[in-house]
């Protein structure tokens, strides 16, 4: 992560707030009075879920927010590097059985994290329906999983890195697109 790179700011704090509002509007429109619960994927998916839930409270919709740590469901356990996952744990303090669950992550890329999250979610119960909300869809799916609610769609290359910073988690706010300097050695 130390190689030189170009950094382009994609969303400023205002644009993120707009994105959160957009997600809230879409969800309110489609979920309406259903029994709905939010589950955020650690770490920033949780923040996103909480912000959207707060926005919906203004519309008189109160949805509980659970958290999900997908480390134990990932399929890349063997490829982990020297950085060992510190488990945050999951906290889903309500029953998922028969309700509509909206899963939150800040970015969708290959779809593998979401796949792991779906496995994890199912271990907590049998929801009537599971939907996916993301702040940024940057493409390049490796498995057939698509988000239901998207605030911003972004064209990227695989070499690029989309970095979301939330005040609550990172102490600053913004979304940037990082492009490593072209390496001639392929």
């Amino acid at each position: 992560m130390n190689e030189p790179r170009d950094i382009e700011e994609i969303l400023n704090p205002e644009a993120i707030a707009e994105g959160v509002g957009e997600l809230a509007r879409q969800i309110a429109y489609r979920c309406g009075g259903d029994e709905v619960a939010f589950v955020g994927i650690h770490t920033r998916g949780v923040t996103l879920a909480r912000r959207v839930a707060a926005a919906l409270e203004g519309h008189g919709l109160r949805y509980p927010v659970g958290t999900l740590d997908v480390s134990l469901y990932r399929d890349d356990f063997d490829r982990r590097g020297p950085d060992l996952p510190s488990l945050a744990g999951s906290d889903v303090p309500f029953s998922l059985d028969g309700i509509r669950v909206v899963l939150f992550d800040e970015v969708i890329y290959t779809g593998r994290t979401i796949r792991a999250a779906l496995d994890g979610l199912m271990d907590y119960g049998r929801p009537a329906k599971i939907e996916l909300a993301v702040l940024v869809d940057r493409g390049h799916r490796e498995i057939p999983i698509q988000p239901d609610y998207v605030a911003k769609t972004l064209g990227t290359t695989r070499e690029q890195h989309v970095k979301v910073r939330f005040q609550e988690d990172d102490g600053e706010e913004g979304v940037s697109l990082e492009t490593p300097h072209k390496s001639t050695a392929a």
Partner: protein, 312 residues
């Protein structure tokens, strides 16, 4: 993410660094949370194999590792060598060859001879977890003890634990006291002179009676199991005398209650020896919590270790 050197084996506590201990203990917490779900299993070690190799019978520890491995979705093979056909030391290398052929990713081993897990670890790419070797070490017991103590005392630093019983021959005492010391928990021991190691062991304060114990005001009393078959007559005059001198009876329990001291024991308990029946119902007994935490800690250990079997 914590920056830790990848570690293949867990052989003892001495060799562990504090960040590694913290990593295991903190990861054990979310593992324990899984036990509240109806689905207690996660797929983290799906496709991996764990060999439970027990040269010394221990249903508890073996089961605990088995449950831990199962809850991580690993495949578990139990291999118990009955004590009647104790494998001679000389054939250890042959046994290791056989184990290699089984291509296990993790080998959980208990052996009556100290150092056997070290030898196995040297000769295999699998991650070796020492589940107790001779008088030497029982690191997962120590980790589960630390987890249990920290649950009731989140401000554990500077607190005090007295370990009572056969300190000399106890791998539990050795590993747990070493770990507690690393965590800044003071350890004292109480036991007959025949069962407390001679020489100087600076990290262990020696107390000579229960009165001294209560004056010391421990936050927990950790009773060791008396190995009845091994010791009666040789190290102390008899069970009755042991119970009288070192057991937790009604009066001692009352004083523990006054102090608010917790009770710990690695199990299985010899009722009427280390402890009276009444003490088994003590409201501050952590014995069952220790069992539950054992599974969580062993999951965290298996999840942490990195076998060298993935690459050729």
């Amino acid at each position: 993410m914590s920056e830790l050197k990848p570690r293949k084996d867990l052989l003892d506590i001495e060799g562990l660094e504090l960040p590694e201990i913290e990593h295991v203990l903190s990861n054990a917490v979310p593992f324990k949370q899984l036990f509240q779900r109806s689905v207690k299993k996660v797929p983290a070690l799906r496709g991996k194999t764990v060999l439970n190799l027990f040269y010394e019978p221990s249903t508890r520890t073996s089961s605990s590792f088995e449950v831990a491995a199962n809850r991580l979705s690993a495949d578990v093979t139990n291999f118990t060598v009955s004590s009647s056909s104790v494998v001679k030391g000389e054939s250890l290398l042959d046994t290791i060859e056989t184990l290699q052929a089984m291509r296990s990713d993790y080998i959980v081993i208990r052996h009556q001879a100290a150092g056997v897990p070290d030898i196995v670890a040297k000769h295999t790419g699998a991650s070796v977890v020492n589940a107790g070797d001779g008088y030497h070490a029982h690191p997962t017991q120590a980790l589960l003890d630390a987890m249990t103590f920290r649950e009731v005392h989140p401000d554990y630093e500077g607190r005090k634990v007295v370990i009572v019983g056969d300190i000399l021959h106890s791998r539990v005492a050795r590993s747990t006291s070493t770990l507690f010391n690393k965590l800044g928990i003071e350890v004292a021991v109480l036991g007959p002179g025949t069962l407390v190691p001679g020489g100087r062991h600076d990290f262990m304060k020696r107390l000579r009676s229960w009165d001294e114990v209560f004056d010391w005001k421990p936050d927990a009393v950790y009773l060791l199991r008396v190995q009845l078959e091994r010791q009666e007559g040789q190290f102390f005059p008899g069970i009755a005398e042991y119970h009288k001198m070192y057991g937790v009876n009604t009066q001692r329990l009352a004083r523990m209650r006054q102090l608010g001291a917790y009770l710990m024991h690695p199990g299985p308990v010899n009722r009427g020896v280390e402890i009276t029946d009444e003490a088994m119902r003590y409201e501050r007994s952590l014995i069952n919590t220790q069992v539950e935490n054992g599974i969580a800690v062993r999951m965290a250990v298996l999840h942490w270790l990195q076998p060298e079997t993935d690459t050729n």
